[in-house]
């Protein structure tokens, strides 16, 4: 009973902290305290968090090396823009369509490719991402390589914040359940998992579909923030960027994915002032982190109530 009460109290505390973050940022935006530069980086940061957390579900928790995340992002971006800009539906319909289309793409690509393991899966997903890009380049209805311009900016801070919370909540809840344990057992030992009664293929597809769905959501938010989408934006380098965040944060740590996405966004923004040596510094930073923390910033650990409880308890 006591424990239940404490849980509710700390749950209330978390809601308060989140509400505070949301309100402070919202106030800073409306009061004009955050200029355009900071706002753009904030949006990038949130979109990167969604991308990293969702890819981490596939790469980190399920242990399936996917290099096609930008492809799902593209599917979501185009699907949402078709809904809002071309067909005139409201933003929420665009977001839903983005999730749906990307999840469907994840299913279609997941079922045949997830039989492959390791490098082979990586190459197959990489190829898939490129196929999406090339297909989009050749569809005249979406302007081919020129892309779609003049998308209305519908992505606002409440949408970004809500989408980010939803992504983290769904991934965390999924991972911390019997289904999540089944997913993680695939990463740990696929054969043992299968022999313990886990239908490994279907759990791989499940993780893949969820991961793709949130990548689609991120794509929709991206499209409606930056006014313009073109196939070239979603090339394999974008997939690698997301992968870097996941590995940097620690495979199998949602907290790590969030922290690394924030870190990479800030690093990229700061390095923009040094265009000549930008990529060198970026690479150097990654190499240094990987030498000293090869398991990523967080390893596979999470920051949770328990962690804070321990820190708190330790001080007493």
């Amino acid at each position: 009973m006591q424990e239940k009460k404490r849980n509710w109290l700390s749950f209330g505390g978390e809601v308060l902290i989140l509400a505070a973050i949301f309100t402070i940022v919202q106030y800073a935006i409306t009061a004009g305290l955050l200029n355009q530069y900071y706002q753009i980086n904030l949006a990038s940061m949130v979109i990167n968090i969604i991308l990293a957390v969702s890819l981490n579900l596939i790469n980190g928790f399920t242990g399936q090396l996917s290099l096609g995340h930008a492809g799902f992002m593209a599917v979501g971006a185009y699907a949402s823009v078709i809904m809002t800009n071309m067909l005139g539906y409201p933003f929420i319909a665009g977001l839903l369509m983005a999730c749906l289309a990307a999840a469907l793409a994840g299913f279609i690509i997941g079922v045949p490719t997830l039989r492959l393991k390791g490098d082979y899966l990586a190459i197959a997903t990489l190829a898939f991402g490129e196929v999406i890009r090339v297909v989009l380049q050749n569809i005249d209805a979406v302007n081919g390589p020129a892309g779609i311009v003049g998308i209305s900016r519908l992505t606002t801070w409440p949408w970004l914040f809500g989408a980010m919370l939803l992504t983290i909540l769904v991934v965390v809840n999924l991972v911390n359940s019997s289904y999540g344990r089944a997913i993680i057992s695939v990463r740990e030992d696929e054969i043992a998992s299968e022999l313990m009664g886990i239908n490994t293929t279907s759990y791989k597809v499940l993780a893949f579909v969820f991961g793709a769905m949130f990548a689609g959501l991120a794509g929709a938010l991206y499209a409606h923030y930056f006014y313009i989408i073109k196939p070239e934006t979603f090339n394999f380098l974008k997939s690698f960027d997301i992968l870097v965040m996941v590995v940097l944060g620690g495979l199998g740590s949602t907290t790590g994915a969030v922290i690394a996405a924030m870190f990479i966004t800030v690093l990229t923004a700061v390095l923009q002032s040094f265009p000549a040596i930008r990529m060198i510094l970026y690479a150097l930073t990654l190499i240094i982190v990987m030498i000293y923390r090869p398991q990523g910033l967080m390893g596979n650990r999470e920051l949770s109530r328990q962690t804070f409880g321990r820190i708190w308890g330790g001080r007493k």
Binding site: D189, M196, N199
Partner: protein
Amino acid sequence: MSIIEIKNLAKSFGGLSAVLNFNFRLDENELVGLIGPNGAGKTTVFNLITGVYKPDQGSIIFDGEEIVGRPPYNICARGIARTFQNIRLFNDLSVLDNVKIAAHKDVSYGLLSTIFRAPAFFRGEKQIEQESLKYLEIFKLADKKDELARNLPYGEQRRLEIARALATGPKLLILDEPAAGMNPQETKDLMNLIEWIRSDFNLTILLIEHDMSLVMGVCERIYVLDYGQIIAHGKPEEIRNNKQVIQAYLGEEVE
């Protein structure tokens, strides 16, 4: 009544035939040993039964149904669970989670309950946890439930593997060298434990073992495999005096 009946099973890798013309049956609640020299094909037989390998020919009737060609998770769901010769635990997960994963096939809540944390989720999780703890207690691992599986001593890892296999709720339990690497006292304890699980869970047990005291001590019948073929079969005392078996293990007598 027979729980599993294998007929004319054969499997070859490349030109090498690992199992040939393998016939075998187990009655309900029996405890049977499968022995044979290294490389005789014992583990291959286990892999064929559990669906890791597909046999080239032959049939395996388990509980009245043909299971050849079914995927391993389905065979497990039908009631065959196993352990591994070289331990395959989920090393980076806790002892408790290892057992919980095996209990997943009885999960009582759906994906939506999971994502929205509906009451059904908490009820189901509690049920899985209690169930899993029950198995850990049987194997005296309950006080180590939060340790990572990789940090357990060898003997306890072996026990955890059996606990995990039992958590899938099998009718037939297949143990691949359960006593490997254990000292005589641990082996003796394990023997008692195996006998106890059989009667308490009403299981049929098939085990591969090199430790002859264990095999001769607990098994009611023994099959001897050599070069992929059954060369002898019978009660422990018959096997002990069987010429062919002695020959397979020790080689031929020099005149």
